[in-house]
Structure formats: structure tokens, C-alpha cells
Subunit: 148 residues, 2 copies
């Protein structure tokens, strides 16, 4: 009886709640969302890169803040690539090669977790060591899935 | 001697590090940054509002995720309103009435901390109670400082 009520409730919730693909009212909203999230991510990732490459003085606290923001933002854009949201700078391959797209986005998220841990050490050499693989994880996804 | 070296080092760092107002290479970068951060915030705030107003089925987990994102994002846009970054939808009053602008942005951040705590209870009534004051804190800042 309890199992039945739970199932009945689940059915109601499933009907009433919008599916993940309908989190955005219009495809343009999803495009704007993913671009905004990636833009904020890119700003802070760029600062970390400038510190790693010596173009910006290393500031351990600022690096930690940026790495924390990068790690947080890295989780957000993917909901904006739901079915039916083709467009923007995204190549059609995003929706045609979903397994590869998910692999690369997972890889990026794993690398920025490491980058965040490296930044927390407050050590520039650790940041430099973690930055390269993280940057490559961005690039490999952009090369396959983003129009220039 | 140690104190002197520390001071000397501090002077070098202070010279080499960009001031907060120069975190962005161009004013357009700051405008894009603050708009992107506020856009991501707005997407999730809008979802919470839709749940609070019964336009979207209440999903406790989704509400918690959105409220967490709103609370995190609420800290970011302000660095993008540094001196010399006038433009976008921001009224000149942002830079002319800094004390008021900071008061209202602080108020918003305090309200979304409460909203986040309310969402964590998993209770729709708590979410509804916290959403109104949070929405008003957005509106009062927009009314004074954002062009329509």
C-alpha cells in the first residue's frame, strides 16, 4: 500500500514537473544561460592562467577565489545544452556526439577540481602544474564542439 | 631586517598586482561579466519564484540547487561595477550613489542567504516566505540603478 502511494505520488510529480529539457522556456534562454555560465567561468579561468603564465602577479587569495568560482561554475553550463537548444556557438556535434560531449565535460570538471585543490595550497608551482591539464580539457572540448 | 624584507616584498607585490578596478582589461569585459553573473543568478531566481508562485511544481531538490546557485552568484557581479565600467543597463547612479548601491547589494546578498536556508528546509511554505523579501531586494536595486 505504501509502495503504491509512493508510485502514485511519483507519477503525479513526474507529470507536473517540467522535464530537464524544459528547464528553459525557450531555446534562446538555454543558450544565454550556458554562454553566461561559461563566460563567468572563463573570466576567472583566464585570471588563473595569467597568474600561471606570469602575466599577472600571483595573489594566492585571488587565485583561491577564482579557482573556487571556476570549480562551482564548471557544473552549471551543461543543463543549458538540453535537446532542442541547438545554436549559439555550439556545433551540432554537441547533440550528435553526446557520449563524447559528456566525457569531455566530465573531464573538464575533474580537472578544475584539481585546479581548485592546487590553488588552495597557496603555492604558485602547484597552480602552474594544475593549470595546463585544466586548460587542455577546455581546449579539447572547444576544438570538437565550439564554432570559432 | 625580516620586517624590512616583508615590507619590500609587499611593495613589489602592490606595484605588480592590478588593482581591483583593473581586474578587467576593458570596461566591456566588466559589463559582460556582471551581466553574465546576474543572468545566471536570474535564471535560478526565476525558477524559485515560479515554484513559490505555483507556476512550476515544487521540487525540493531542484529548489535547493537553485537557491545554492543564487547564493553563490550573488557575490560575483559587484566586482564588475568598478570605477570606469559605466555602461550596459547600469544607470550612472551606480557610480554616483555608491553607498546606496552597496547597501542594496548587501541587502540582496543577505536575503538570498535566508532564501538558501529556507530552500534547505525542503518546505515550500518556508521558500514562499523567504522569496518575497529576496525578490523585493532585487527590485529595489533595479528600480534605482538599472535602466529598463
Amino acid at each position: 500500500m505504501k509502495a503504491l502511494s509512493t508510485l502514485a505520488l511519483a507519477a503525479v510529480v513526474a507529470t507536473a514537473t517540467l522535464p530537464a529539457s524544459a528547464q528553459f522556456a525557450k531555446p534562446e534562454d538555454a543558450i544565454k544561460y550556458r554562454q553566461s555560465a561559461l563566460s563567468v567561468l572563463g573570466t576567472h579561468f583566464g585570471r588563473l592562467g595569467a597568474m600561471a603564465n606570469g602575466k599577472l602577479a600571483f595573489d594566492a587569495k585571488a587565485a583561491q577565489e577564482s579557482a573556487e568560482i571556476v570549480a562551482f561554475m564548471s557544473k552549471l553550463p551543461w543543463a543549458g545544452f538540453a535537446a532542442g537548444t541547438e545554436g549559439g556557438k555550439a556545433k551540432p556535434e554537441v547533440w550528435k556526439e553526446q557520449a563524447k560531449f559528456h566525457d569531455l565535460s566530465d573531464k573538464m570538471q575533474a580537472e578544475v577540481v584539481k585546479l581548485n585543490a592546487a590553488a588552495k595550497t597557496g603555492n604558485l608551482d602547484s597552480l602552474k602544474a594544475a593549470f595546463g591539464p585544466a586548460a587542455n580539457s577546455c581546449k579539447s572540448c572547444h576544438d570538437s564542439f565550439r564554432n570559432r
